[in-house]
Symmetry: C2
DNA sequence: CCTCTGTCACAAAACGTTTAACTTACCAAT
DNA sequence: ATTGGTAAGTTAAACGTTTTGTGACAGAGG
């Protein structure tokens, strides 16, 4: 047996009222008490549900928002998505999630796809998307919220963490324990977050009036393999750093793998500060000190900002919400010399 | 400036053809070569995109499928979702992802939500959902594919791994290396996968004619904390096992954390086989031997089956696709006695 | 008793497609 | 020359809502 959904017409017939009245009721308009009851009964009896397609056709709203992310297998990102999804659901929005597997082509393509689905808003963790696409969405009155990375070439709301000071604090933390030669494994030079983190590294050196050994700055690609390679590079230096700061999760994994297959002991011979995944940090021996980002909060801010924009509130556009990271101390940093 | 999207009418006007012809063309019907060119030009010039809402209203299809999962922060699940999403996108479907945070209430609620969005199909990693809900979806001709767990009380397609033999093989692997006292950290007794894994543990003991010490069977809740607690239980036994098999990822994390804070060395004093996350396995020292599930494949099978069902092909319903796991050897299992 | 005001209900048009039924044009076969 | 068939195009209805403009009615104020 195949069920067939009932429509507003059926409800109208059942109650003897007109379609318009039913529609009014559904959308919170006021109807006579006696009618209210009959409508409610009819809806229950007929198991009526609004047809969102028909509604969407009229209102030009889909009650759907699009989320476009680099990867669904990145816990940093999915935590945020999870929060966003649940918050928006409370307001009746459903969330279409697309990942673009860090592929430039796919990123543009899936953005178009979301637009073609006429979502009411977009949350995007951008990588290499064409700024014009975002402009176009904005012109079509589809709000876009960027997460984690600001973009040049377009005015757009963005929620991110203070990456500069995240790095600043992590390296300062090492300074406080007496380290002076600190290596950094950076992300790609063309990625905003990576640039910011490197800036923090440089600025803290300036503030402490320490000269920077350029050999201690290494650029990776945010993937496991490069974390491994670059950590090995540090291990084989004639004059190696006493501590290394790794600037994202995947490269932290790689760095730990490199250390495991060497016979260098952490933190005795080398101290380490990683990034992003607290679960990982706790399961490694010795427990890893890491920089954690407030993922819940990022999701929350992004979702709320998007809701405001979708309501038409353009206040403070373009907004930049900049959240703070935190250092969770493990046992991977040696105290050479305590200054506190 | 706010752009306003052009419609099929505009294209008709631009080309001088009728709406119906344009529609036919869009949907792959054949038109005269000269008209084809004009239509294509018009579409380009007007930047025409089909309005999916209007189309959906007519066809009663949304080109949208729903995915309902226990958590977006579970890499096992998100890997599958990622695969599903990309496969279905190739066929023009978009994917609405909902997680229910292992909450029974939320699970039922979000299932309803997906139904109210009139998705064309649903992929569900079920936990405690009401079987009637699934029946109702099926009655409405919305195909549902279960992942990872079969369900009683309703006939439904399901894609899962052979959990029984996964456990069988893992424990047999330990037997082959000479272990005879093997502890198991199981999942909740009311969860299908957990039951299956325990059955495998029991069956392999039967096949090897080894008696089972009930103290070596411990039930957790698939969360980190219980992995920790139960591993500590094993460590404190008077007559501890020589090896432990942990049956999911989170509890594996917990078990490793427990081992790290004890002074028991792996694999010398205790051998360990974990579950599910190969990245984790490689980053732990010593590298962990684990059971890995073919997540890509699961996603692939589920997506393809769903596509078939959505096309109306009911062949072999209800299908049960049962995939095989694999053991990835690390260095966490000691050879007491090699039989090979 | 008349008019004004406010509340509620209604009819009908519109949103942008698809599709069934129909027309036309052309060509081949009788 | 007539018939039949096929391919391409057209017209108009339908999908299930929202919304605009009206009208009906009741009670208040004069």
């Amino acid at each position: 047996m195949i069920l067939i959904a009932s429509t507003i017409k059926d409800v109208a017939r059942y109650t003897g009222l007109s379609i318009a009245t039913i529609s009014k009721f559904i959308n919170g308009g006021s109807v006579k008490e006696v009618n209210r009851q009959r409508i409610e009964e009819a809806i229950r009896a007929l198991d009526f549900k609004v047809n969102e397609m028909a509604r969407g056709l009229k209102t030009n709203k889909t009650a759907t928002i699009g989320v476009l992310i680099p990867s669904l297998e990145n816990i940093f990102v999915t935590s945020i998505v999870s929060k966003v999804e649940s918050l928006l659901l409370d307001y009746g929005y459903s969330t279409i999630v697309c990942d673009y597997r860090t592929d430039r082509e796919l990123e543009n393509q899936k953005f178009d796809f979301l637009m073609s689905k006429s979502v009411d808003g977009i949350i995007l963790v951008p990588h290499a998307i064409d700024a014009n696409k975002i402009k176009e969405a904005l012109d079509r009155d589809i709000p876009v919220i960027l997460i984690d990375r600001a973009m040049k070439g377009v005015e757009c709301d963005v929620v991110l963490v203070d990456n500069l000071n995240a790095a600043y604090n992590a390296v300062e933390h090492l300074f406080m324990k007496g380290h002076r030669r600190v290596g950094i494994i950076c992300g790609p030079q063309d990625i905003y977050t990576a640039q910011e983190r490197l800036k923090g590294y440089i600025r803290v050196h300036e503030d402490y009036q320490l000269e920077i050994d350029q050999d201690l700055i290494r650029y990776g690609d945010y993937e496991i393999q490069s974390g491994m390679t670059l950590m090995n590079y540090f291990l084989e230096m004639k004059n190696p750093p006493t501590a290394v700061f790794v600037t994202n999760y995947e490269m932290t994994l790689g760095a730990v793998m490199a250390l495991n297959s060497s016979n260098v002991s952490v933190p005795d011979q080398l101290s380490l500060i990683g990034f992003d995944n607290i679960q990982l940090a706790n399961v490694i021996k010795p427990r890893l000190s890491i920089v954690v980002q407030p993922m819940q909060q990022i999701g929350e801010y992004a979702a709320n900002l998007l809701l405001r924009r979708m309501k038409g509130d353009k206040g403070g556009f373009p907004a930049m919400l900049r959240l703070k990271t935190e250092i969770v101390e493990g046992e991977s940093v040696k105290v050479i010399n305590s200054y506190v």
